[in-house]
């Protein structure tokens, strides 16, 4: 079956050169270049920017939403989305806080019943995972659009948070050291949240790129019917991915509560948007099938660096919103242009 006609057309294939050989996605390169450019420009303008302590500041801020963004990446690669993570952050934070020693609140649900910190954390993570699991169940069994399904659970979980706290904050008098360590501690000079963020990113990168589950996630997002006809367990994989995101949102909620030493009803509000922005800026396509955890890491850092710079320049919160929104719009437009290029 050898064919000379096919050999003749060999010219069509360009040899792989330079960066292409490293097998890095073009989207990653683009967002990476933007981030590096930003860092260079900012260090030239403001000497305060380029210092190790400022970098740690950025990382500490980015870590919490970054953990959510990493999980959100997998959800978006399957072609889904989850708007409920911000509410999950709030609820898990409040539930965990209520179970930690010395916590107090005017809420009738915050009782004298307390657990050791590791157990309280486990309960919190279980609550987050459960919310994610239910999201996955609703999306796969009722075939409701993920956007609508999780919009519903976002409001529902927020409602639970109000019910649970009665609208009152949960505070500590004082916070136990082992719980404080999660959000405020440090190991080898690196803040604990940054360590946790690093572990999450490495784990999710590994899952997405090196395991059969990860491959299934990409296949399901790229072509759900082809994935199903290749014997992949589409529903189970989706449920798994939403559960994992719920778990990570719970983790973020626990870190945030420890860092602020308080669980309030506004904790986590808007986190879903920051996380989704980071994922999209990092080059993951909202259509599904394409994207990477590493891209999202770059994306959340880009948002973090911009916000940090605006802080250094003393810009108001309002201006920060405007700038972050502009960056997101820019990223989405670039995604759209890249997709049109691929089609032609």
């Amino acid at each position: 079956m050898t064919s000379t006609a096919q050999m003749d057309r060999q010219v069509v294939e360009a040899p792989k050169r330079g960066l292409a050989r490293l097998n890095i996605q073009v989207e990653n390169i683009a967002s990476g270049v933007v981030l590096v450019g930003l860092v260079i420009a900012l260090s030239l303008v403001s000497p305060a920017f380029l210092s190790f302590s400022n970098f740690l500041d950025i990382a500490r801020v980015v870590a919490i939403t970054g953990i959510i963004a990493a999980g959100m990446t997998l959800v978006i690669i399957t072609g889904g989305i989850d708007l409920s993570v911000g509410s999950t952050v709030g609820l898990v934070g409040a539930v965990t806080a209520s179970l930690v020693a010395n916590s107090a609140s005017n809420s009738e649900f915050v009782t004298a019943f307390k657990l050791p910190v590791p157990l309280a954390v486990l309960v919190g993570l279980a609550v987050g995972s459960l919310i994610g699991f239910v999201n996955g169940l609703i999306i796969t069994k009722t075939k409701i659009e993920p956007f609508m399904a999780t919009l519903g659970s976002m409001i529902f979980v927020k409602g639970l948070l109000y019910l649970f706290t009665g609208g009152y904050p949960v505070n500590f008098q004082p916070m136990p050291d082992d719980f404080a360590f999660i959000g405020q501690g440090a190991l080898l000079g690196i803040p604990t949240p940054v360590w946790l963020f690093a572990v999450v990113v490495v784990a999710l990168w590994w899952i997405s790129r090196r395991t059969t589950v990860g491959r299934a996630i990409y296949a399901i997002g790229g072509n759900p019917e082809a994935a199903r006809l290749s014997g992949l367990k589409v529903e189970r994989t989706k449920i798994m991915v939403y559960t994992l995101l719920g778990f990570l949102a719970g983790l973020a909620g626990i870190i945030l509560t420890s860092r602020l030493a308080s669980a309030t009803t506004v904790n986590g509000t808007g986190f879903e948007l920051i996380a989704i922005s980071g994922v999209v800026i990092g080059g993951t396509s909202l259509v599904g099938g394409r994207g990477s955890v590493v891209g999202s890491l770059i994306g959340v850092f880009t948002v973090g660096v911009i916000q940090n710079a605006l802080n250094l320049f003393g810009a108001s919160t309002q201006v920060q919103y405007v700038v972050t929104g502009l960056v997101l719009l820019l990223a989405i437009s670039l995604d759209g242009i890249a997709r049109r290029r691929r089609r032609t």
Binding site: S3, A5, R9, T212, G222, A226, L229, L232, G289, R290
Partner: protein, 510 residues
């Protein structure tokens, strides 16, 4: 009809050259079409047909060369100018708007306006004019029908009506018969003959060579961006057309190889679903079992039911004599069944993934331990299959969506070879696939059968299903209407069974 040889051609393209980047796609192509002529344009995928047609219809610009229409030089700045000059392009994937009426589609962007109130649409005139055009085409469709309710064939007729409403003189049709049934194709051909009589010219692209012989006057063969030859389509055999397209001798169009029929591997008894009614069949080692029938007769549903993709209401499936439960594609795969689905892009391949990842998809367990992929092993295995099946370009990391249709289909086949399927169901395996890839796919199916695999081949292409199969089952309205042994194969017998009739004695002999 005006004889094309005596008058000057309606369309003349000369020395058309086009490069994308540093790849030259067209090398000085000459082409002419006479008034009222149907010109077949043949070539493998990648030969430059699409580029040439896009240049003709003003979609892309040429680097060099000239286009004359009726002796006048034609320069198109875009598709709109080409339309104004009397060109129409009917794409393989139809561009009708499904939620609008037939008349609205026909006059899209040019709806007749009311006199004295040009901001209002004159609906009466719109439906009347659309009705007149449809009448001219001898098509019985109400212009008020919502297009989405029409079948594919009728939607195609709407596209042709649209072209005529713009006074198109040269209509380009890119694989218009790809998704039509035999009867619908006949209807289209009748229409094309009427267009010819009216002096409308057609540039006709198809991979089905017997159709070219039936409808085209001349055929121009394009290979690697150059014109190989222009021949009389009615007197040139399909075999020599194919040879010219591929540029090498195809030993035979359907090189059926005989092999020993072994023991029974698959038995289906009393299978029923929403669309299937009490279907029973048996297939054997080394056998290619053809399944023919009209589109919608339940062929695809049968394949999906055996593969566990659709739920069954009754019936049993036996693999190698053992009763098995196939309630999901995963279960089917574990029992060694594979399915190459009908729609490659929507069901077959994950276009956003690489060839290697597509190939390992149905059985990742083969290249993983405890869920962790052995990417080196995966790539090696994929490369071997890519070489065996001559996927072009032969790269494991290449994104499958960037391959031509035929090569995408090879990747889907490679997936089942990787998964080690011993019972392979292929649904329209060569639809929209060029001649070279088609021959390769046929060769592969023969080879697999020779190695003792069981192949079940669904096809609407009668020469294909008759050329390849050892036995043919013909379906009609969710049932098996008839069975033919190889010695009894005839188009007539298949068509009779497919229409729910018993073949007559003369019919089966003809």
């Amino acid at each position: 009809m005006v004889a094309s040889s005596t008058s000057q051609p309606l369309l003349r393209m000369e020395g058309i050259t086009k490069s994308f980047g540093n790849v030259q796609v067209l090398h000085g192509v000459d082409l002419s079409v006479g008034r009222g002529e149907v010109l077949g344009l043949l070539g493998e995928n990648g030969a430059g047909k699409s580029t040439l047609l896009n240049i003709l219809n003003g979609v892309i610009e040429r680097d060099a060369g000239s286009i004359h229409i009726d002796g006048e030089p034609a320069e198109f700045a875009g598709p709109k100018q080409a339309q104004d000059a009397g060109l129409a392009f009917i794409h393989q994937e139809l561009s009708v708007l499904p939620y609008l009426t037939v008349a609205e589609n026909v006059f899209l962007g040019r709806l007749p306006r009311r006199r004295g109130a040009p901001w209002l649409v004159d609906w009466a005139a719109c439906y009347k004019q659309a009705g007149e055009i449809l009448e001219r085409l001898a098509v019985k469709i109400d212009p008020r029908t919502i297009v989405g309710r029409l079948g594919t064939a009728e939607q195609e007729l709407v596209e042709i009506a649209k072209a005529l409403s713009m006074n198109a003189r040269i209509i380009t049709m890119d694989e218009p018969t790809a998704s039509l049934t035999e009867a619908e194709i006949e209807r289209l051909f009748t229409l094309m003959r009427a267009l010819k009589a009216d002096g409308v010219s057609v540039v006709y692209v198809s991979h089905r060579l017997h159709e070219v012989a039936e409808i085209c006057d001349r055929a121009t063969i394009l290979r690697d961006g150059k014109i190989v030859s222009t021949v009389d389509a009615r007197t040139t055999s399909s075999h020599s057309l194919a040879t010219m397209m591929v540029g090498r001798e195809l030993s035979e169009l359907f090189p059926k190889t005989e092999h020993e029929r072994g023991r029974e591997t698959l038995r289906v008894s009393g299978l029923s679903t929403v669309k299937l009614n009490d279907v029973s069949l048996a297939a054997h080692q080394g056998e290619i079992l053809g399944i023919a029938g009209l589109v919608g007769s339940g062929r695809t549903e049968l394949a999906r039911a055996i593969f566990g993709a659709d739920s069954i209401t009754a019936g049993e499936i036996f693999v190698n004599g053992e009763k098995v439960t196939v309630d999901s594609p995963g279960a089917a795969i574990r029992h060694g069944i594979g399915l190459v689905p009908e729609d490659r892009k929507l069901q077959g391949a994950v276009l956003s993934m690489s060839n290697a990842h597509n190939i390992s998809l149905a059985r990742m367990s083969k290249v993983s331990r405890f869920g962790q992929l052995n990417r080196g092993g995966e790539k090696q295995e994929a490369k071997r299959l890519i070489q065996d099946l001559q996927v072009y370009p032969p790269r494991a990391e290449q994104e499958t969506g960037r391959l031509s249709g035929g090569n995408q289909q090879k990747v889907v086949l490679a997936k089942w070879l990787f998964a080690g399927s011993r019972i392979l169901i292929v649904d329209e395996p060569t639809r929209g696939v060029d001649v070279g890839a088609r021959a390769a796919i046929h060769g592969l199916l023969n080879e697999l059968a020779g190695e003792g695999a069981t192949i079940i081949m669904i096809s609407s292409d009668l020469p294909e299903v008759m050329g390849m199969s050892d036995r043919i089952l013909v379906m009609h309205e969710g049932r098996i209407a008839g069975e033919l042994a190889r010695k009894d194969f005839s188009e007539e017998a298949i068509v009779m069974y497919a229409s729910g009739l018993e073949p007559t004695k003369e019919g089966s002999k003809a």
